[in-house]
């Protein structure tokens, strides 16, 4: 018997009820839960930073000039002369020298001068230039012949030349760094190949910049003595002044340890006795394996920030004196790790290393520390070297942060299927903000703040790029989605689709 219409309608209503659940509740829910969330990133700004268009890297160096006993007008005249020299031979890129005379003006007193130049003029002496080691100042002594008058242009060119000499190496380093990056200007300093190789070695030897470094001083004794060392006093006398001087740039924490019966690593050949010089020689090939990382407790993770290890090794009496084969020296530096020294006590074996024993050791360690921090070797004034380091680090951090931003922008455009969480967008915003701040600080001459901002920018850029939740969906091919949906939804869909088709027909 044919179906009464009420039954037909009931059937239609039931099919519609099932399909309504699918279409009105299921589909929107599916779209909502499986669409990847991509936060908005300021791609144009990121690309402009990565291509070096966002900041022109030139470093204004504010130099204060004060001449002994001259009046203001004469100083102003002198400054004009010096500027004229610099404009004539503009080999100052990327440093931009701005000279001002030492007139006690409130706003200029607040400024952190890059260097102070004091000039004395005396008749009959040879021109001399002397840098103060612990402060950023240059003392110039200019002499002129008895019969001559002081010529301002000669004095001016002397001052210009001396100032340029002081900053010559820094110019080369900065220009080299900028030359390798998108921020390169059009004037580059030409370097010879040896100079370039030197520069590269210096840069790769140093640790990357961190705001905290952990210094570890370890004494490893081959036998049972010496077992103690007067390290605290030695550190206080020889190392702490350097650490204090560097404290503007990074913070240092110091740990010390002593390990007795420390044996040399079995993987190296070991010291060989040389009969001609009657000492034990350590081959160059052994140097990299000398630090017995298996048995010597040397790699703790003390905290955030890299650990710089300084190792003092006292060889056994039957292996001493122990020296390096080629050079005959007793210390070497391991790039991006730390430094090692060998202390040959000779006949004066005692149980304790006194501060007298430790003096040359500490000085060598201090020297190694400066290389590992990346401190430039010249000019011969510590304060100037530290401020030069500030500028170099700020530059390298800005370059690194910009390139990370560029890589992130390219990644976002290329991989359209990855999710970009809000944290990444926030980190990118922070990075760009701090980069802009750093750029402004550099243009104003406040290199300390520039370093701080550049460090934060670099940290945030790294955090944005290496966000772990971004890569979750990268390697998820679309075919796998079939395998995820079909086993459950296939059997659900079949009766619904068949019923709907039958009903429509």
């Amino acid at each position: 018997p044919p179906e009464p219409p009420s039954v037909q309608w009931t059937r239609r209503l039931i099919i519609v009820a099932f399909w309504v659940v699918v279409a009105c509740l299921g589909l929107p829910y599916w779209l909502w839960t499986t669409s990847t969330y991509r936060a908005h990133l300021p791609l144009e700004v990121m690309e402009s930073w990565s291509e070096g268009r966002a900041c022109s890297m030139h470093f204004p160096m504010y130099i204060r000039l004060s001449v002994h006993g001259w009046s203001d007008s004469m100083e102003a005249e002198l400054i004009t002369q010096v500027q004229r020299r610099w404009d004539a031979v503009p080999e100052t890129y990327p440093l931009d020298f701005r000279l001002a005379f030492g007139h006690y003006n409130d706003s200029e007193l607040q400024r952190d001068w890059s260097m102070t130049v004091t000039v004395k003029t005396e008749p009959g002496v040879q021109p001399q230039a002397k840098l103060q080691p612990m402060s950023r100042s240059l003392d110039l002594l200019y002499g002129y012949g008895r019969s001559e008058e002081l010529r301002l242009d000669a004095l001016g060119s002397f001052i210009a030349e001396e100032i340029r000499n002081v900053f010559k190496d820094e110019r080369e380093t900065l220009s080299y760094m900028l030359g390798n990056s998108p921020f390169a200007g059009d004037q580059e300093v030409l370097l010879s190949t040896e100079a370039r190789a030197d520069l590269e070695a210096r840069v790769t030897r140093a640790f990357s910049y961190a705001s905290t470094y952990h210094l570890t001083f370890s004494l490893f004794t081959s036998g049972a003595s010496p077992s103690t060392w007067d390290i605290d006093a030695a550190l206080e006398r020889y190392m702490n002044p350097l650490i204090r001087a560097l404290s503007n740039i990074s913070h240092f924490t110091v740990d010390t340890q002593v390990q007795l019966h420390a044996s040399i690593s079995p993987s190296i050949a070991g010291p060989q006795f040389d009969a001609t010089t009657r000492d034990w020689k350590l081959q160059k090939t052994d140097l990299s394996g000398f630090v017995n990382s298996a048995e010597w407790p040397l790699s703790p993770s003390i905290g955030s920030g890299p650990t710089i290890n300084f190792v003092l090794y006292v060889p056994a009496p039957d292996h001493s004196p122990l020296v390096l084969a080629e050079t005959g020296g007793t210390s070497w530096l391991i790039p991006q790790w730390g430094g090692v020294q060998i202390l040959n006590l000779g006949s004066k074996q005692s149980d304790q290393l006194t501060i007298g024993n430790l003096e040359p050791i500490m000085l060598t360690f201090a020297n190694q520390l400066t290389s590992l921090i990346g401190l430039p070797p010249s000019p011969p004034s510590l304060a100037l070297r530290i401020s030069s380091l500030t500028r170099e680090r700020a530059t390298s951090l800005i370059i690194s942060a910009s390139s990370t931003l560029g890589a992130l922008a390219r990644l976002t455009l290329k991989l359209t299927s990855i999710a970009i969480p809000n944290t990444v967008a926030k980190s990118v915003e922070d990075t760009i903000f701090h980069l802009e701040q750093a750029c402004k600080d550099i243009h104003v001459g406040d290199f300390q703040c520039a370093l701080e901002n550049a460090r934060i920018a670099n940290d945030q850029a790294e955090r944005a790029f290496f966000e772990p939740s971004m890569v979750g969906q990268v390697y998820f091919p679309d075919e796998h989605k079939v395998a995820v949906y079909v086993p459950l939804l296939g059997p659900l869909a079949v009766p619904m689709v068949m019923a709907a088709l039958k009903e429509i027909r």
């Binding site: 018997p1 009931t10 209503l13 039931i14 009820a17 099932f18 659940v21 699918v22 509740l25 299921g26 829910y29 599916w30 839960t33 499986t34 990847t36 979750g472 969906q473 998820f476 995820v484 459950l488 939804l489 659900l492």
Partner: protein, 458 residues
């Protein structure tokens, strides 16, 4: 000897209840470790109804802390004051008292089932009267099946709190059979408050309510107009007097309104008991987002242990939508047998709920006996025997494989999940079979000559 059946026939309810209570209490007394062992079984105790977790929450609650801080307690807050009246189950007296409480609950549930069976809602509705109405089982049999069902016995001893939800659900159904809308909505709201899924019983219980209301009104009118009590309508097509009948819209609004109001009232009461609203995510988001994947006899946990994070929320939605999509179509199709719709949707819930357990399945199997007049139709030679045998097989192998997986270490999760799937399959076969029987019954009411013949779906 004649007196014994006499006593039985006169006081069959008392004897039934007495013996059921005696069995439970004897089991608790004779095997003192049994309640504690059973309350740890994965099939009986799930993260949302376990007695042990209730004790955890109770401990924190009695010391004034937020019981949901521990992260393992996911049950309704109003159970806490109730259970804090009982002594701690660390002592034997505490265990015995809790078993007594659950025995009382079981007896109340049996009373509800008795009433539902007695009211005849299974085979009479306002537009339909089953031709098999004389084949139904007596109410006492239905209650006895519930009370002596092994799943129910084990559940009573394991004491999960889902028994409260069961009680209130069945109370709601029994009040719906008496056409008391307000109390039915109230009871259903309490049941949904305790565990979330009875909310899906709103359409069928509402339909049942409306149906019984019309039927009783009509019967009342028939009784007063004819002056004689007519127990059953004489024809399957009943003439309605539309003007005096309850309006469906008004009933729906009243029903849903009371339901929502009660639910909100219960939530407010819970908030007053507790220091904060933190119970809401813990109690209600747990079935929705499944943070706790402890193995149970349901289908969800295994699937979600292996689901990729990106698709997890989508599939949670799929599973919930699947479960709730059965509500309305069942009511549409079975609107002439609303009690059948209620029982079948209870079955869907028992099989597909997020934290399924053997207790809910046992309750459903007992409720199936309310539709006992359909049993002769349910292909007893084809499906019912294999289904029941499979149930028995799964019941015995399930704990064995669980032990093998977790304690002996020589099986793995697949063993246990396979048995769980078999269990669900058996329940599904029973469900589908009962649905077929209900539909065939309707068909035979219209086409009486089809009785006894094979039919096919076109």
């Amino acid at each position: 000897m004649q007196s014994l059946p006499q006593v039985y026939n006169d006081h069959h309810k008392a004897i039934l209840y007495g013996s059921a209570a005696a069995v439970r209490i004897l089991a608790a007394v004779a095997f003192p470790g049994l309640p504690d062992t059973l309350s740890l079984r994965a099939e009986l105790a799930t993260p949302v109804n376990s007695f042990k977790r209730l004790q955890e929450g109770l401990f924190l609650y009695q010391r004034g802390l937020d019981p949901y801080n521990g992260g393992i307690f996911h049950q309704a807050p109003l159970l806490l004051p109730l259970f804090s009246l009982l002594p701690s189950p660390a002592f034997a007296s505490g265990t015995l008292l809790s078993v007594l409480l659950y025995t009382g609950l079981d007896l109340l549930v049996a009373e509800c089932l008795y009433y539902i069976a007695q009211s005849g809602a299974a085979y009479i509705s306002r537009r339909y009267r089953s031709p098999r109405h004389d084949r139904t089982w007596t109410p006492a049999s239905v209650a006895a099946i519930y009370l002596f069902n092994p799943y129910t016995l084990l559940t009573c001893l394991a004491r999960p709190t889902s028994v409260f939800a069961t009680f209130f659900t069945l109370l709601s159904v029994s009040h719906a059979c008496q056409a008391r809308t307000a109390t039915a909505a109230f009871a259903l709201a309490i049941a949904s408050y305790i565990s979330l899924h009875p909310a899906l019983l709103l359409p069928p219980v509402g339909l049942l309510c409306y149906d019984r209301l019309c039927l009783l009104q009509h019967q009342g009118r028939d009784a007063t107009s004819n002056g004689a009590a007519i127990e059953k309508p004489t024809s399957t097509k009943i003439a309605h007097d539309q003007r005096l009948q309850a309006r469906p819209l008004e009933l729906t609004l009243r029903f849903s309104g009371i339901y929502l109001a009660t639910f909100l009232l219960l939530l407010t009461l819970s908030r007053l008991l507790l220091p904060s609203w933190s119970f809401m995510p813990s109690v209600y988001l747990t079935p929705l987002t499944l943070p706790d994947l402890t193995p149970n006899s349901g289908l969800w946990w295994y699937f979600f242990t292996e689901m990729f994070d990106a698709f997890r929320s989508f599939f949670l939605g799929v599973f919930w939508l699947h479960m709730l999509s059965y509500s309305v179509p069942f009511c549409l199709r079975l609107n002439r047998q609303p009690l059948a719709a209620v029982v079948l949707i209870m079955g869907v819930l028992a099989i597909f709920e997020p934290y399924a357990n053997a207790g809910d399945a046992g309750v459903w199997l007992s409720c199936l006996c309310l539709l006992s007049h359909l049993f002769e139709l349910s292909s007893s030679h084809r499906y019912t025997f294999p289904a029941l045998a499979t149930l028995l097989y799964a019941t015995l192998l399930g704990p064995a494989f669980h032990h093998l997986w977790i304690y002996a270490g020589s099986g793995n999760a697949n063993f246990f999940y396979a048995i769980t799937l078999v269990w669900s399959l058996a329940l599904l076969v029973l469900l589908a079979d009962t649905l077929y029987a209900a539909l065939r019954d309707e068909y035979e009411a219209e086409v009486p000559e089809a009785k006894g013949r094979e039919i096919r779906q076109v």
